[in-house]
């Protein structure tokens, strides 16, 4: 009998071999509240949030406002004490679906040291797929793809302890890619990286997003959210601001400062150029777009 791959149309094969991620998942919170058992105070106080498949959300807020807790709800690491959470329409409180939910939604945490389990690069990357109970040749394929995509394939047999901080965080990302989730939650995943590693990490996230993956990114730096579609600000367990990232970035510098954020230079530049009537107001705060608009002038 012919193998399954021979029966598929060519384009199907192509898209299979080229997409690390399956298409994006939808994440949905309805009236979600959360309280840690040993803590009197509610950490989340009625959150309504719908994230469409393939959307890129920037999640901002002061320390202790409940951002990490919110991400853990999406991954079924925590269950809402009130309200509910749906991933692709599946309620996270269905015990039998937990494995499925975690294969759809992956988290990358702040410190790579806390999420790498094995001592050898390829063994750590295999950890997720091994837990999913895939066939070992399938695991090998996924590990190879994931390590190639983060640029660590040459180091597959190396000890984790021999990697740099940036490489370790990319390894954490590879471990998540190998699960092929439909959405990626980043909990301050770039905060410990130097500028060069930060850029290469962000480039990897952009690529995943362009292949359809849903992104929820927790950060304190506005220069990291320029590619996001929507910004959600959480203060004290509630959504205090929500809207297009472009609109968030056009909030005045002083007001952003009061909220604890520094306006990124590229947003300042765009505003100045718009104010002087050089480029149209609809331009996004993106250096590539500004350059394009400026080139049109000549």
């Amino acid at each position: 009998m012919a193998p399954v791959s021979a029966m598929l149309p060519r384009w199907r094969l192509y898209s299979w071999s080229n997409n690390l991620m399956s298409s994006g998942t939808t994440l949905y919170l309805k009236g979600a509240e959360f309280q840690y058992p040993d803590n009197e105070k509610k950490v989340l106080k009625g959150i309504d949030l719908e994230i469409r498949a393939g959307e890129w959300i920037a999640l901002l807020g002061p320390n202790g406002s409940g951002k990490s807790t919110l991400l853990k709800l999406f991954n079924a690491l925590l269950l809402p004490s009130q309200g509910c959470c749906f991933i692709d329409g599946i309620n996270t409180n269905e015990t039998k679906s937990v494995a499925l939910i975690r294969s759809k939604v992956s988290i990358v945490f702040q410190n790579p040291e806390d999420q790498i389990v094995a001592s050898v690069v390829e063994e750590d990357t295999a950890f997720g797929p091994e837990n999913l109970g895939l066939r070992s040749d399938e695991i090998k394929i996924r590990v190879k793809e994931a390590l190639i995509s983060v640029g660590l394939w040459e180091k597959r047999k190396h000890a984790v302890s021999s990697l740099s901080g940036g490489q370790k965080q990319r390894l954490a990302l590879a471990g998540v890619f190998a699960i092929r989730p439909g959405s990626l939650l980043l909990d301050e995943a770039m905060s410990m990286l130097d500028p060069a590693s930060r850029k290469s990490f962000l480039d990897l996230i952009k690529r995943e997003h362009s292949s359809g993956c849903t992104i929820v990114q927790v950060t304190h730096r506005l220069d990291e959210i320029l590619n996001s579609d929507r910004t959600v600000v959480i203060t004290d367990g509630q959504i205090s601001w929500q809207g297009k990232t472009e609109n968030f970035l056009s909030i005045s510098e002083n007001e952003l400062k009061d909220m604890g954020f520094a306006k990124p230079p590229v947003a300042v530049l765009k505003e100045e150029l718009v104010k002087s009537g050089i480029i149209p107001g609809s331009t996004r705060s993106d250096i590539g777009e500004i350059r394009k608009k400026l080139c049109l002038l000549q």
């Binding site: 410190n111 837990n131 190396h158």
Partner: protein
């Protein structure tokens, strides 16, 4: 070969050999068998045979002689101590020399030599195992070997996973300890002067942050493992499953034949 250069895990010496490729269960079995056999066949010719087997295996798996000899260093004190005990306390009529009431006899010296060599051979056998088997293979092998005991409640998978995590975090914890010590030193802590108690006390401000850190780490790691779909050993499939094939059968047969020869040699002596 440059590919595996970065690996510095325990005693493991990576190489591309027939012995490195053997299933860890096979190597574990042979090691355990050899330990028992060395104990029941302790004549000098038999031990010479065992030694030749060790040398042959080390040669075939490209283990440098220096590494092999050095592997017994941690228990050298034990070997010397038991040898001394044997020399002086075995008793016997042919006294070579005496220090006060202690008499060294010929019989005692022979026993000491025999016991010392035996211990040394045992250490070399286990060293060969750890030289040719990576820690993760070793924990896979142990998990499989203890697998049947899970029926009686022995947590084989959990123990293997603990080994994996411990190995992973040893280098990290060393780094963290160093960082904390440096931070304390830069704030004027003194770890070198004073008596033993004073110096031990100086380490308390290092241990407390280290403990706090370890517990926080463990908590996040547990979440991260769960987030990566970990549900214990159930339904877990390894990327490199253990495979017992003809190579393992051959190795085991060769070992059994060799052992039988050694045992009969030992009987004849």
């Amino acid at each position: 070969m440059s590919l595996i250069k970065g690996v510095t895990l325990g005693q493991y010496i990576p190489a591309d050999s027939f012995i490195h490729k053997l299933d860890p269960r096979c190597k574990l079995l042979i090691t355990v068998l050899s330990m028992i056999l060395i104990f029941i066949s302790g004549s000098f010719p038999a031990m010479a045979m065992w030694a030749s087997l060790i040398i042959f295996t080390a040669k075939r798996s490209q283990i440098p002689a220096k590494a092999l000899i050095k592997s017994a260093k941690p228990i050298l004190v034990l070997i010397i101590f038991t040898s001394l005990l044997n020399i002086f306390f075995t008793g016997g009529s042919n006294i070579i020399f005496s220090i006060g009431p202690l008499k060294a006899s010929v019989e005692g010296t022979v026993t000491a030599l025999r016991m010392g060599l035996r211990l040394y051979l045992l250490v070399l056998f286990t060293a060969l195992l750890t030289f040719t088997t990576s820690p993760s293979e070793l924990s896979d092998g142990l998990e499989a070997a203890f697998g049947p005991l899970t029926r009686f409640g022995f947590p084989a998978h959990e123990v293997a996973m603990m080994m994996t995590i411990a190995l992973r975090f040893i280098p990290t914890l060393f780094e963290e300890t160093e960082r904390i010590i440096n931070a304390q030193v830069s704030r004027g802590a003194d770890f070198v002067s004073g008596g033993l108690i004073k110096r031990a006390k100086a380490y308390i401000p290092v241990l407390i942050p280290l403990f706090v850190l370890v517990f926080k780490r463990a908590d996040t790691l547990a979440s991260a493992m769960e987030a990566r779909c970990y549900r214990g050993g159930k339904g877990r499939v390894r990327m490199y499953p253990l495979t017992w094939g003809s190579a393992e059968n051959k190795a085991l047969t060769a070992f059994v034949v060799f052992s039988a020869a050694v045992i009969s040699l030992n009987r004849c002596m």
